[in-house]
C-alpha cells in the first residue's frame, strides 16, 4: 500500500545507489538570482550547459526593490546579481521573468499562477520555501547551490528518501482562524525540528475544505518544522485551479497527465513512519513571541515560562531577551512599529482580501509603518481590479511592487534595530527582517488588526 509521497517519489527514481541516495528526476526547476550565480559558474568551469532549459524557469525576487522598479537598481551588488541571472538565463535559453516583466513575482507565487506547478511533479528551487508547491500534490523541496548546479547540469538530484509523516487536522476551523494559524499551530506543537528527516502529507477535512492558496500557505511552512516538504493530495479543486493556465497541458497532453494525477492519493492501508492528529476546533489565531517559528501560541495566551519547557532553558531565555519580552507576558496590547503583508507564505490575493476585510472603514495607526507587498504582478493587478486598493488607500495604506521584500530584508525593506514587526512571512529569526529587528509572525487578519490599532490585537474583535 503506497502513500501519495511514495507514488510520486518512486516514479521519479532514475537509479538507486546502494547505501546511498536515490537519483531523482526533476520535472520543474525554478531559479532565482541569489542562489544560482555560483551554480552557473560551476557549469562554466565544467564547460557544460543546462540539460533541460525548457524545464527551468527563472525569476528575480529575493534581491529586488519594491518601489520604483522601473528605475535602475541602486545597490550595485544587487544590480550585479540581477544582471547575472538575466545573462545566465539568456545564455542557456531559460525563460526569464526579470524586474519589470509582467510575469515577475516571488518564485513560489508565480509558479502556481502560470501552471508550472502541477500535481505529481518533482519541483526544486534553491529556496527552502519550495515546499509551497506541495499544495498541488507535488514533491517540492528546497536545495543548496551545489544541487542547483546538479539539476541544471543533469535534471537530476541525489537525495536519500525521507521518512513519511501524516498530519491530520480534523473538523472545522473557528472564525478568524486562517491557514497560517493552522500551520503556526502545528509548528508550535512539533517545534522547529519536529519533522526534520520527514516529508509530510497533510490530510483531513480542514485541508480538504481549504482553498488552494490556503494549502500553499500550509505547505510553504512545512520547512519551519524541519520537514523537507509537505503535500496535499490533488482533488477537483486542484485541477480546477490549474486548468487553463499558460503552462498547464491541454488536449491529449492533459488527458495523459490527468491519468497520472488520478492515481495520486494515499491508499487506505498505507502506513506512515509517524502520524499526528489535531482538531481544527482547538486552533485559535496565532502569534509568535520568540526567535523561531515554533515559539508561537494562541494570541490570547501568555508567554510560557522557561520552567514549563523541556530543556533548552538558556536558549529560550536568550530568545526572549532578544525580543525584550518577559515570561508570562500577554501578547495582546503589545505596541508594534511595522506591519508586513506579503511573502511566499501570505502574499496572494486571498491574503490581501483578508487584510482588507479588517481594515475597511478604519485608519492605519499613526505609529505603524505598513509594507504591503503583493507576491506577483498578477496579485497586484487583482488587488486593483477587485477594488481592494481603493479601500487600502482610503485607510492610509500604500501598495508596493512585488518581491520577497521584508521577509528576508535583502533589499531596502528593513525593520530597524529594536523595532517590532507583525509579519505574515515565515521566519522570526534574530535579524531576519533587518539587523536587530523583532518579528511577530501571524496571519493577514492579525497583521491587519495590528496595523489599525498599533498594537497586538485579536482580529476577532474587529470582525
Amino acid at each position: 500500500m503506497k502513500t501519495l509521497f511514495d507514488k510520486v517519489w518512486d516514479s521519479h527514481v532514475v537509479r538507486k545507489i546502494e547505501n546511498g541516495p536515490d537519483i531523482l528526476f526533476i520535472d520543474r526547476h525554478m531559479v532565482h538570482e541569489v542562489t544560482s550565480p555560483v551554480a552557473f559558474l560551476g557549469l562554466k568551469s565544467r564547460n557544460i550547459g543546462v540539460k533541460h532549459p525548457e524545464k527551468t524557469f527563472a525569476t528575480a525576487d529575493h534581491n529586488t526593490p519594491t518601489i520604483n522598479q522601473h528605475l535602475p537598481v541602486k545597490d550595485p551588488l544587487s544590480a550585479n546579481q540581477l544582471k547575472a541571472l538575466e545573462e545566465n538565463s539568456k545564455a542557456h535559453g531559460i525563460s526569464y521573468w526579470g524586474l519589470g516583466h509582467e510575469k515577475n513575482g516571488i518564485v513560489h507565487v508565480v509558479g502556481p499562477e502560470y501552471g508550472i506547478t502541477q500535481p505529481g511533479a518533482t519541483i526544486v528551487c534553491g529556496d527552502s520555501h519550495t515546499s509551497t508547491h506541495g499544495a498541488f500534490g507535488a514533491i517540492a523541496f528546497g536545495i543548496g547551490t551545489s544541487e542547483v548546479e546538479m539539476v541544471l547540469a543533469t535534471q537530476c538530484i541525489m537525495q536519500p528518501k525521507p521518512k513519511s509523516m501524516r498530519i491530520n487536522v480534523l473538523g472545522n476551523l473557528n472564525k478568524g482562524v486562517t491557514p497560517k494559524d493552522v500551520a503556526l499551530y502545528i509548528i508550535s506543537q512539533l517545534t522547529t525540528s519536529g519533522a526534520t528527516g520527514y516529508f509530510v502529507e497533510y490530510a483531513g477535512d480542514v485541508f480538504k475544505n481549504m482553498s488552494m492558496e490556503g494549502r500553499m500557505t500550509v505547505c510553504n511552512l512545512s520547512i519551519e518544522m524541519g520537514a523537507r516538504g509537505g503535500m496535499i493530495a490533488p482533488d477537483e479543486k486542484t485541477l480546477d485551479y490549474i486548468k487553463g493556465r499558460e503552462f498547464t497541458p491541454i488536449g491529449t497532453a492533459w488527458d495523459k497527465a490527468k491519468a497520472y494525477w488520478d492515481t495520486l492519493y494515499t491508499e487506505e492501508n498505507a502506513t506512515f513512519d509517524k502520524e499526528l492528529t489535531f482538531k481544527g476546533e482547538d486552533i485559535e489565531p496565532m502569534i509568535t513571541y520568540g526567535t523561531n517559528p515554533g515559539m508561537g501560541m494562541s494570541i490570547g495566551k501568555n508567554i510560557p515560562t522557561a520552567e514549563s519547557l523541556e530543556g533548552g532553558i538558556s536558549t529560550y531565555k536568550k530568545s526572549l531577551q532578544y525580543m525584550a519580552f518577559n515570561e508570562g507576558d500577554s501578547m495582546i496590547g503589545k505596541p508594534i512599529d511595522f506591519v508586513f503583508l506579503g511573502s511566499c507564505t501570505n502574499g496572494r490575493i486571498e491574503d490581501f482580501r483578508a487584510f482588507t476585510e479588517i481594515i475597511k472603514g478604519k485608519q492605519k495607526a499613526p505609529n505603524v509603518t505598513a509594507w504591503l507587498v503583493p507576491g506577483s504582478h498578477k496579485v497586484e493587478a487583482a488587488i486593483k481590479e477587485e477594488g481592494l486598493l481603493d479601500i487600502l488607500t482610503a485607510a492610509g495604506f500604500e501598495l508596493r511592487e512585488p518581491g520577497c521584500s521584508a521577509c528576508l530584508a535583502m533589499n531596502d525593506d528593513k525593520v530597524p534595530t529594536g523595532k517590532y514587526a507583525v509579519s505574515t512571512s515565515n521566519r522570526n529569526f534574530e535579524g531576519r527582517q533587518g539587523p536587530g529587528s523583532r518579528t511577530l509572525l501571524a496571519s493577514p487578519l492579525v497583521a491587519a488588526a495590528a496595523a489599525v490599532t498599533g498594537k497586538v490585537t485579536d482580529p476577532r474583535e474587529l470582525m
Binding site: G126, G144, T145, F429, P435
Partner: protein
C-alpha cells in the same frame, strides 16, 4: 566545486552551546549578494560576532583567542531555516572542516556534505561532554575519523560512532562530487526523461 579530501581530523574546537542556530545567524541575508563564492568566511555569524559599528563582540566564541580549531560544535538543531548554501560556504571558508551537533537540519547537512564540511551527529550526552571538556580546557582536542566513523574526546578517551551513508563517505574521502557521477549516466537520464508524464 572541488574541496579538500577528508580523512582524520584532530583539532581543538570552537563551542557554540546554543540550540536552533539557523542559517540566518550563520550568514545573514544581506551578505548573499555576491555572484562568486568568495569572502563568506568574513561574515560567518556576522551579527553575533560584530557590533553594529563592526567592532568584535568580545564574549562571542569566534572572537576569543582561547578558542580555535577546525571543528565547530553547536547545540541541537544546527542549521535550520533557509537553504542558502552560503552558510556552509561561510563555515568552510572560515576554516572549519567539521561541524558537530546533536541534531542537524536536513538541507544544511546536505549542503555541508556537498562542500566538504563533515556534519557529525552525536548524542546529546556526548555533545555535553565535549562542551564540558572545552570549558575545563579550551585547548582540549577532539579527533574525528571518517574512515572509522568515530569521534573521540582526546583527554578522556571517550568515543562515539556517527553515521554517514557509504556513498557520501566515499565522496568525502576522495573529494569527489555528485555531478561527475551524474554526468556519467547521461544516457540513462535522457532515456528516463523521455518517459516522464509531465
Amino acid at each position: 566545486m572541488a574541496y579538500d579530501k577528508f580523512n582524520i581530523l584532530k583539532s581543538s574546537i570552537v563551542p557554540l552551546p546554543i540550540e536552533n542556530i539557523d542559517t540566518d545567524q550563520i550568514i545573514p541575508a544581506r551578505f548573499l549578494k555576491a555572484t562568486e563564492r568568495k569572502g563568506f568566511g568574513d561574515n560567518l555569524f556576522r551579527d553575533w560576532r560584530y557590533n553594529p559599528d563592526n567592532t568584535p563582540k568580545e564574549d562571542f566564541a569566534l572572537n576569543q583567542d582561547k578558542y580555535s580549531g577546525k571543528i565547530l560544535v553547536g547545540g541541537k538543531n544546527f542549521g535550520s531555516g533557509s537553504s542558502r548554501e552560503h552558510a556552509a560556504w561561510a563555515v568552510y571558508d572560515y576554516g572549519f572542516r567539521c561541524v558537530v551537533s546533536s541534531f542537524f537540519a536536513d538541507i544544511f547537512r546536505n549542503n555541508c556534505l556537498n562542500v566538504g564540511v563533515l556534519p557529525v551527529q552525536v548524542s546529546a550526552e556526548f555533545l555535553e561532554k565535549i562542551f564540558a571538556e572545552t570549558q575545563k580546557d579550551a585547548s582540549s582536542q577532539v579527533e574525528v575519523s571518517l574512515p572509522e566513523q568515530t569521534i573521540t574526546i582526546i583527554t578522556t578517551g571517550e568515543k562515539e560512532s556517527f553515521t554517514i551513508n557509504a556513498y557520501k563517505k566515499e565522496n568525502m574521502l576522495n573529494g569527489f562530487d555528485d555531478i561527475d557521477y551524474l554526468l556519467n549516466m547521461k544516457e540513462e537520464i535522457t532515456a528516463f526523461a523521455e518517459n516522464t508524464p509531465l
